[in-house]
């Protein structure tokens, strides 16, 4: 393994490591536009030039592999001069329209100019006029005047999405990012080109003029859009409530996870956050009064729910109660659900699996057919006791009647179709709906309990591979809504079971002690990259 010295700091790295990679490990910043670890090496922006002992010419750090004994400097006058020269070249035709550019604040022209440039403009020529603010697809706007021709987007559509919409046309100073005549950038990964664009050439239509990036708060989370569990950052505007139509969540950005999504997320996930600040959010408990749902406070709602559950149990036994949880819930939510309904109330009929009439499919990249973030967790937590066949009740359209249904975060009308959903719900004397947003199903419930969305809670999801990953609240639960596990705790407390959990973390400690598959896990071990469920021995038959 070669040892390299960069700016007097030495490091031994595996064979094949490039200077730019080694520098990253030493926390030495080497500026770059074209280099992106998820794409092939272009080596063309020439920002990462470094000086290597015994080499007369500066070399690009992105394409130069470390050899043993190599001595590199990124701070010599020669390097500084070259880098500031390259930066000047990039800026001569830049429109400097930062005041109206969404990228401002996270723009690498701005950042590197402050660090490596700070020159006065020597450009006395007319700047080249090019295409501005072209809508090139459902999610992306192109401004070729701001483009530095780093070719990241071109390589992305060639190598990652393999959709081939973007190219660099012409040559020399005429070079320009273009699409085919009459073609649009429309693939399920199109938003990623905005993330990798180091400048304001590709911006997001959804985020356009919504918020300045320096007003954004960021919370590490996991996309709830499918069972891949792509790592994301929930970016919210908490300071400028009047911006962005009053929405709090402004955008989701992918967060690197080598094992899950690397640098990318799909558009379905990226733009799937709108429900969080949607007017349909349930912000207080509601109770059916005639045809209308009327608001009530939490303690009344909890008493009503517990009262109805007790009543159903007294009348028909535990067998007259069905709990339908959701693979949208966190592991912590599901554990408390099991603990309260299953263990403390002795209800066996707990499931989460609702057949979906809408057939969805995997794409050949990240998106999975299962559009739920925690199916694997729900299986581990709810099904380890074995079998209750919810599907049979739904499909057989049995005439059996039940006392009470406690339904979490599942729009049965959408999944089953209106008629089957109504028929199923009709089998119950009383329906409690717990969820974040109003939908046709919640409209059919007798009691509605408002739950927080995944962006508003701490907890964990388990992806399809069994990787347990943490999510962090980026914003407060809206209105009176509560994290699902707190809703259940409230019911439990009302029913006389005081769990005493202060946080999701405390729930998880107990979960790890109780549910076999989670044995040995902790938030610390899970960390920011997640941890796979320990291999569990198959239970002998």
């Amino acid at each position: 393994m070669p040892t390299v010295t960069i700016n007097q700091k030495s490091l031994t790295v595996p064979e094949g490591t490039t200077i730019i990679q080694a520098a990253e490990q030493l926390n030495i910043e080497i500026p770059r536009y074209c280099y992106h670890p998820g794409l092939s090496i272009a080596g063309s922006c020439r920002m990462c030039l470094v000086e290597i002992e015994k080499m007369p010419k500066l070399q690009p750090a992105c394409n130069t592999r470390v050899t043993d004994g190599m001595v590199v400097t990124t701070q010599s006058p020669k390097v500084k001069e070259a880098v500031s020269g390259v930066l000047e070249f990039l800026l001569i035709n830049h429109p400097l329209d930062c005041p109206v550019c969404d990228q401002a604040g996270e723009c690498y022209l701005q950042e590197y100019y402050m660090k490596f440039g700070l020159h006065d403009s020597r450009m006395n020529e007319n700047k080249i006029k090019r295409h501005k603010a072209e809508v090139i697809g459902p999610h992306v706007i192109l401004d070729t005047e701001r483009c530095v021709l780093c070719s990241r987007c071109v390589r992305f559509v060639r190598e990652v999405s393999r959709s081939h919409e973007i190219g660099i046309f012409n040559r020399g100073g005429q070079s320009e990012i273009r699409l085919l005549p009459d073609q649009v950038l429309d693939n399920n990964y199109s938003g990623n080109v905005v993330d990798i664009c180091p400048v304001g050439a590709l911006t997001d239509r959804d985020f356009r003029f919504q918020c300045r990036v320096w007003y954004l708060s960021k919370a590490d989370s996991v996309c709830n859009g499918c069972s891949r569990g792509c790592n994301i950052t929930v970016e919210a505007n908490r300071q400028r409530a009047h911006h962005g139509e009053g929405r709090r969540v402004m955008r989701l950005k992918p967060r690197f996870n080598k094992e899950v999504n690397r640098w990318w997320i799909c558009d379905i996930g990226r733009y799937g956050y709108k429900f969080i600040d949607d007017p349909s959010r349930l912000i207080q408990p509601l109770e059916k009064q005639g045809d209308e749902l009327e608001p009530l406070d939490w303690s009344t709602a909890a008493e009503r729910a517990v009262g109805r559950i007790r009543e159903a149990k007294q009348r028909g036994g535990a067998g007259s109660i069905v709990i339908v949880a959701s693979p949208q819930l966190t592991n912590e939510d599901l554990f408390v659900t099991r603990k309260f309904f299953g263990v403390d109330l002795g209800i066996d009929q707990i499931d989460f699996r609702i057949p979906d009439k809408n057939t969805l499919s995997d794409d050949d990249f990240l998106l999975r057919a299962d559009r739920n973030p925690n199916t694997r967790g729900a299986e581990a937590i709810l099904l380890d006791g074995g079998g209750f066949d919810l599907q049979r009740i739904i499909e057989s359209a049995s005439t059996q009647s039940f006392g009470l249904l406690y339904l979490c975060e599942q729009d049965l009308v959408k999944k089953l179709g209106s008629e089957p959903a109504r028929r199923f719900l009709g089998q119950f004397d009383y329906v409690i709906y717990q969820g974040s947003n109003e939908n046709e199903t919640s409209g059919l419930a007798n009691l509605v309990l408002p739950a927080a969305t995944y962006a508003e809670v701490n907890g964990t999801f388990t992806n399809f591979e069994g990787r347990v990953q943490r999510i962090h609240a980026g914003i407060e639960p809206l209105g009176d809504s509560l994290p699902a596990w707190r809703v259940i705790c409230k019911l439990a407390q009302t029913a006389g079971f005081d769990y005493g959990y202060e946080s999701a973390a405390e729930v998880f400690v107990e979960l790890a002690q109780t549910v076999t598959e989670f044995e040995g896990l902790s938030y610390e071990k899970i960390g920011s990259e997640g941890m796979k469920l320990p291999e569990t021995q198959p239970v002998p038959a």
Partner: protein
């Protein structure tokens, strides 16, 4: 569209290479020689023929100066004004052609007979000033010679 005859030519070009894509530029040239220019339809057909994303073909077409997406005149006059020609009056030759035909750089006469382009070094430096009409070189040009050449091209039946 691409004729069967042209397709047969494509087939023979492709056979020269172990990797199909290598045939792209020769195929584009051949197509342009047959059809005058590279239309969006031709480009799409060639991309399909070579199994390439169309964007790759556009990148190539817009990169090379001989490849064109629009028709030119029947006689495409390309006057070199680079250094060796410049020293011996290349610019004056260009002006002469321009004036005689009444067209500027990049333009085509209304009858579609002539188009004019100022081009980079044609590799005829020792016979400067020089120009190409389509692929034919005309060397050691003078104003009189240009007049004669244009006249001859204008009246092909008298040649």
């Amino acid at each position: 569209m691409i004729s069967d005859r042209l397709l047969a030519e494509f087939d023979s070009i492709v056979r020269n290479y172990p990797v199909r894509r290598s045939a792209l530029i020769p195929i584009l040239l051949t197509t342009q020689e047959h059809l005058g220019y590279l239309s969006d339809e031709s480009i799409a057909a060639i991309a399909r023929y070579l199994n390439l994303p169309a964007i790759d073909v556009y990148e190539v077409v817009t990169f090379y100066s001989m490849l064109r997406r629009h028709p030119v005149g029947k006689h495409h006059i390309q006057v070199c004004t680079n250094i060796s020609c410049l020293l011996l009056g290349g610019e004056e030759i260009f002006e002469r052609v321009s004036k005689r035909l009444g067209i500027k750089e990049g333009e085509t006469t209304s009858d579609g007979q002539f188009s004019l382009a100022e081009v980079e070094c044609l590799g005829a430096c020792c016979n400067a000033p020089a120009m190409q009409v389509n692929y034919t070189y005309y060397n050691d040009l003078t104003a009189e010679k240009v007049d004669q050449i244009l006249q001859a091209l204008q009246k092909p039946e008298e040649r």
